[in-house]
């Protein structure tokens, strides 16, 4: 079989981009490729990585979830309050926080699927009100003072590997497995490809879509717990604007904004591009404002390239026909 160069670039372009970044930064800073910094990069990608799996599922159905950051915040203040104010055990606090995350996801799912509000608007509304709730619950003040055992989640190590990295690895492996080896994963692609065709194939589309938003809420909540443990303080503003990071990673990974297209592997690469970029720019002492600028340009460049290569392909097809 002849391999099309353009196709090859399309499929592995993002991986090449990651490698280029790594090589560039390792020349730019002698500390970049040291063992401790690699572990650092991995740990920095944990919160993005965990919530990216849920967002990937949601985007495959053709939706979006803007409430990720708000759920991280709500999780942080809820779990923090449960432990610091009510004196509940960390495990119970985690369970309550996770259930709350799933509940927010359920609300998202119902608004999108049954009330039929466009996902962008529905989750924007939920994001805004959940963030408001964070401030109401805490009176705008951070909550701290938890049992030491809770520190494991964000600061613990197994050997040399940080616990957040292990959690992320488990979530990514499970996320890949569910997407590629279960009925549910197949249905996600089907629904995103054509909701009506999926429904007429006998798939319970409503149930699947709502479940997907719940999974996204649950995983955002898990990411929030890791973040809370790392910071040791429940900030009502925790995770503010964080969804943009996650969306960038998933879109970089090649998940179509229109749903139904994209591979899980790409998302994993997208997650690492985000954290390598953040870490590398700091290592090279790039001023923070410029970092933002560069991240935005990287996103536009990557997606723009993808779109243009698609467009050229279809133009060719039309000419041939």
């Amino acid at each position: 079989m002849k391999i099309d160069k353009r196709e090859l670039l399309r499929r592995y372009g993002i991986l090449i981009m990651l490698l280029v970044l790594i090589i560039y930064f390792s020349f730019g800073s002698e500390y970049f490729l040291t063992g401790s910094n690699v572990v650092n990069v991995l740990r920095q990608s944990a919160v993005t990585g965990i919530s990216a799996v849920g967002l990937t599922y949601v985007m495959l159905t053709g939706g979006i979830d803007l409430s990720i950051g708000a759920v991280i915040g709500l999780t942080a203040v809820t779990a923090a309050s449960c432990m610091a104010k009510l004196g509940l055990s960390p495990i119970l606090a985690c369970i309550i926080a996770l259930a709350l995350g799933a509940l927010i996801g359920l609300i998202n799912g119902i608004l999108v699927n049954y009330v039929e509000i466009p996902a962008l608007i529905a989750t924007l509304g939920v994001m805004t009100s959940v963030r408001g709730l964070c401030y109401i619950l805490t009176g705008g003040l951070p909550v701290y003072g938890f049992p030491a055992s809770f520190d494991i989640l964000g600061k613990g190590y197994v050997g040399v590997i940080p616990v957040p990295v292990i959690i992320m690895a488990v979530v990514l492996v499970l996320g890949w497995y569910v997407l590629n080896r279960t009925r549910y994963g197949r249905y996600l692609y089907a629904i995103g490809g054509s909701r009506e065709a999926a429904r007429l194939s006998g798939i319970n589309v409503d149930k699947m879509v709502v479940a997907t938003y719940m999974i996204a809420g649950l995983l955002s909540s898990l990411a929030g717990l890791v973040e809370l443990s790392r910071l040791s303080s429940g900030q009502p503003s925790a995770g503010d604007g964080f969804e943009m990071n996650v969306i960038t990673a998933v879109v970089l990974g090649g998940i179509s904004v229109n749903g139904g297209e994209g591979k899980f592997f790409g998302v994993v690469v997208g997650i690492f591009i985000m954290s390598v970029l953040a870490n590398g720019l700091v290592m090279m002492n790039v001023y923070e404002f410029y970092q933002q600028l560069i991240r935005g340009i990287v996103l536009i460049f990557a997606v723009g390239f993808d779109q243009l290569s698609k467009k050229k392909k279809s133009v060719k097809k039309v000419k041939a026909a």
């Binding site: 080896r181 279960t182 009925r183 054509s194 009506e196 999926a198 007429l200 194939s201």
Partner: protein, 494 residues
């Protein structure tokens, strides 16, 4: 004589792969006449109209507009020559006013802004000419379908149309609105505008048309003065064709009733009751829009409906397609690309999407090896032509796509399969392969409902035929009664 005609289409031929859509069609339209175009579904009327509108370029033949010859037209050119088309789907912007819609694209301008006053005044002038009473300041979205149509017509007239083509203009109108439209058509004629009028409702043609051109299977049959015509004359001219094709032989229906529908009703269908026997092919005849697909969707749980459904004598409650699939009912939709197939997925993923339950391995996990094996089996059994089952279905031909859909439903062990236009857009060779498969399935005891607008197919494949008209079942044909004339008689009966 030559100058009598505003439009002359000579020997227009259009071929698509595997089918000749138009075969040396003739059409001559006089100035200021209402010229009806008559033919069954698929006779080629729409293709001919699109040729005249410039949307399709014919392979052969020429088009004369006011004596000037063209090989083909372009949409822009057709408009400039004064050819206006009122399609069934309107091209109106809902949030703009009537006047803004009519002048969309050539608004009168004062300075840099639209001159609303002139706009409205011009609009009222056109309305007065046509005898339309309508406020030009109303947004189009507030108008009923009938009035939106009037706006479309006024829009065409305001662009100095000399020929107006109306494609089934009364299809969505009520009795009173139809009268209003026919009045308007007469008015246009009196204004010297020629109208090409497409409709299945013969009674309207007798009321409004001057002459009628009849088409059948992409061929020109004849042009008649309407005053020399009778209903039976028109019907036999429309359908009178030899059955040149060979359909698989055999009638397999038994007396055992597997599916019974009682009084199914929703906003598209009224009081539908019928029985389906084991191993029979039950044809649903009727015109496009008669509600046949809607009956199928109701039975399959895709649309809500009232009434009762019995499977093998037991009442069942089917609320969604998932329920129907679990009860062994399959629905092969007319619109393969939007509703039948998942175009972004592979053949393998499409075939197994409805039966992933069967290929699970210890609980959650899908058994990909078993999946591949099953799909390969169906690929051979149905002769799906593809280099690999990993091929995206969007790369397949229509016939092979239809086989993929069929494989999907065979894999769910369906006992009842509804085929909606099973061979639309499929090459002739593959068509007969599909008929043979349907026959084989019936032989194995699977019951089939086939909705078809392709008359020879309906007559050739069905064991029994029910005919629908305007949302109701109006007739049933068995044995020797299965004749084209009988189907059409029911389908367009008053």
């Amino acid at each position: 004589m030559q100058n009598d005609y505003i439009i002359e289409m000579k020997d227009i031929t259009k071929r698509y792969p595997g089918v000749v859509a138009l075969d040396r069609i003739q059409l001559q339209v006089k100035r200021g006449e209402v010229h009806a175009l008559l033919g069954e579904n698929g006779a080629g009327k729409s293709t001919l109209i699109k040729t005249l509108a410039g949307a399709i370029h014919p392979d052969e033949g020429e088009i004369l507009v006011e004596g000037k010859a063209y090989q083909h037209l372009e949409p822009r050119l057709a408009m400039e020559l004064g050819i206006g088309v009122i399609y069934q789907e309107f091209n109106l912007i809902p949030y703009l006013t009537v006047a803004n819609n009519i002048f969309l694209g050539n608004e009168p301008v004062k300075g840099t802004s639209i001159d609303e006053k002139t706009c409205i005044a011009e609009c009222e002038k056109v309305f007065e000419r046509l005898g339309i009473t309508l406020d030009p300041r109303v947004p189009v979205r507030n108008l009923s379908v009938a009035y939106q149509q009037l706006v479309e017509i006024a829009k065409a007239v305001s662009k100095n149309a000399k020929v107006l083509i109306m494609d089934e203009p009364t299809a969505a109108l009520s009795g009173k609105e139809v009268d209003m439209l026919l009045d308007l058509v007469r008015k246009l004629r009196d204004e010297g505008i020629s109208v090409i009028y497409i409709s299945h409702r013969l009674e309207e043609l007798f009321e409004v048309a001057d002459r009628v051109t009849i088409m059948r299977d992409g061929q020109y049959i004849e042009t008649l003065d309407i005053k020399d015509c009778t209903r039976p004359r028109l019907i036999s001219s429309m359908v009178g064709r030899e059955m040149g094709e060979n359909y698989p032989q055999g009638k397999y229906g038994t007396d055992e009733v597997v599916l019974e529908a009682r009084h199914l009703s929703n906003d598209k269908i009224q009081d539908i009751s019928f029985q389906l026997h084991k191993g029979e092919i039950l044809g649903f005849g009727g015109l496009v829009g008669a509600g046949r697909t809607e009956v199928a969707r109701a039975v399959f749980g895709a649309d809500k409906c009232s009434g009762e459904l019995y499977l093998n004598g037991k009442q069942v409650n089917i609320r969604c397609p998932g329920d129907a699939v679990r009860h062994g009912i399959a629905f092969i939709t007319e619109d393969r690309k939007q509703q039948g197939l998942l175009m972004k997925l592979s053949i393998r993923e499409n075939v197994t999407i409805s039966s992933l339950d069967h290929i699970r391995r210890h609980g959650f996990s899908l058994d990909l090896k078993k999946e591949k094996k099953l799909v390969e089996e169906y690929r051979h059994q149905l002769n799906i032509k593809t280099p690999s089952i990993e091929q995206l279905v969007s790369n397949l031909s229509g016939g092979n796509q239809q086989k993929v859909v069929l494989a999907k439903w065979l894999l769910t062990n369906s006992k009842i399969i509804i085929f909606d236009e099973p061979t639309r857009g499929i090459d002739v060779g593959v068509k007969f392969e599909i008929y043979q498969i349907m026959r084989d399935l019936a032989k194995q005891g699977i019951s089939i409902i086939m909705i078809s607008s392709d008359m020879p197919e309906l007559l050739g494949v069905s064991d029994r035929i029910v005919v629908m008209k305007e949302g109701r079942l109006v007739g049933e044909l068995q044995g020797d009664e299965i004749q084209q004339e009988n189907v059409m008689q029911y389908a367009i009966s008053d």
